[in-house]
């Protein structure tokens, strides 16, 4: 089933979102749509309000916000249907990797007897390459492995919408490329927002890219790249577009 036919896939729109921080207007009548089943990358200088937009969509505390409606194309509210993957892995140090992956069911108080659920968690861990680390404590994992565990936790939630806030920014180049490809593959078909600093990451993973700049912010959309992500790092089209995107970012000031 393609995303367009799948009724569980829907787009998410922010309608005239406004956010103020201590009198500074961050968003004024901002309208943005995350297309159904597509991965939208959000680029922009630090402090422009990328994470704020993500928090606004998730319904987490931001500054003073008013009149912002988060609307889903299927008419139902977004609450409970979006998963978060943050810059830091946010693994709980007192839980094993497996229990971290099962965090959602623990927090919702779902019955602990869930054998099938544990099986699913183990198979997701195997998919992200952590099969042998299910019973390890997070402290014993490297940064890349921790972020893979966080990805497994996000996938375990199996939400149609996934919001990611610079999830790969703390990793070394090679780990980063591997994890980008893995995430791109595994999140395929969901409605995803990926906040990032890294133009190459956006070009590799994004179905579309939005560049955020100014105060209050404006959103600018560079031309979309052909082909389905994840794209190769050395894809000539990616490299060519990177120059253009870097130029746009250099012009994008707060």
């Amino acid at each position: 089933m393609s995303p367009a036919e799948d009724p569980s896939v829907f787009s998410v729109s922010v309608r005239s979102g406004s956010v103020e921080f201590d009198g500074t207007v961050l968003f004024d009548e901002l309208n943005v749509t995350l297309e159904a089943g597509k991965l939208t990358c959000l680029l922009g200088p630090s402090g422009v309000g990328k994470s704020t937009l993500l928090r606004l969509i998730l319904g987490l505390e931001t500054g003073t916000s008013n009149g912002n409606g988060v609307v889903c194309s299927d008419g139902r509210p977004l609450a409970g249907r979006a998963a978060l993957m943050a810059q830091r892995d946010l693994l709980f140090p007192w839980l094993t990797v497996l229990d971290n992956v099962l965090l959602g069911s623990r927090l919702r108080g779902e019955p602990r007897t869930g054998g099938p659920r544990r099986e699913r968690a183990r198979s997701i861990l195997a998919e992200v390459g952590l099969a042998d680390w299910a019973d390890a404590m997070p402290d014993t994992l490297s940064g890349g492995m921790r972020q893979r565990a966080a990805l497994a936790r996000t996938l375990m939630e199996d939400r149609p919408v996934v919001l990611m806030d610079e999830p790969f920014s703390g990793l070394d180049a090679i780990t980063k490329i591997r994890l980008q490809s893995l995430s791109g593959r595994m999140l395929r078909g969901r409605t995803v927002l990926l906040v990032t600093h890294d133009p190459l990451e956006a070009l590799r993973l994004g179905d579309r890219i939005l560049v955020m700049a100014g105060r209050p912010v404006r959103l600018d959309e560079p031309p979309r790249l052909p082909g389905a992500p994840p794209r190769d790092v050395d894809d000539p089209k990616v490299l060519e577009a990177q120059g253009d995107l870097l130029r746009r970012l250099a012009e994008a000031v707060i």
Partner: protein, 252 residues
Amino acid sequence: MIRFLRGPIVVIGLIVVWQFVVWATAAKPWMLPGPAAVAAAWIEHRDLILRHAALTALEIVFGLSLGTLLGCGSALIMAYFRPARRWLMPVLVVSQAIPVFALAPILVLWLGYGMVSKVAMATLIIFFPVTAAFHDGLRRTEPGWVDLARTMNASRWSILRHVRVPAALPALASGLRVAAAVAPIGAVVGEWVGSSAGLGFLMLHANARMQVDVMFAALATLAVLAVSLFYLVDIGLRRALPWQPDSSPVND
């Protein structure tokens, strides 16, 4: 290996210094008895000393348990109800500003010469470090964890139980270490002010009758008791929180 020998070496070192001071100052036995005299007194009066020590230990353990329970309870209440924080915090500060020594006679007057007043004293002295440490830990939950839990549809209660409390346990552990170290003070002060049993009573009693060696034997027993309690709590806490990077002051 040196880790396990460090304790005994320190104890032996202190005894050597003690013996040296006795020898160098030619102190009279009724001012400062030597280690050998104290050991002899301990052996001679061991039944008496151990009986009083058991009572003091019981007071400390009860006080520690009660103080911990009350401290955790009020920390949770303060962390979750803002009005409670505003009203309880000044009360807590006042309770610490008044020295427990000054309250001891009142507690003995109200609660009697028995064990209850000593347990109350130990509880009072423990209450503050436990409350302060746990409350601090509860307030400093990593905000990302709470955000993550919210996106997972966790209820307020579930966030408390699965995120805030476990995350605050290392802070509570530091509070409990302090509590374990000060708990004996509460019990012994209580015994000094008014009692008919316990190591504090025994020391006063022996002092009044010029049994200085017995007094020192009781003091040494109290020291062993206090140090064992601290180490037991410390080891227990490290076993209970294996995920916590080693922050124990003992192995620094």
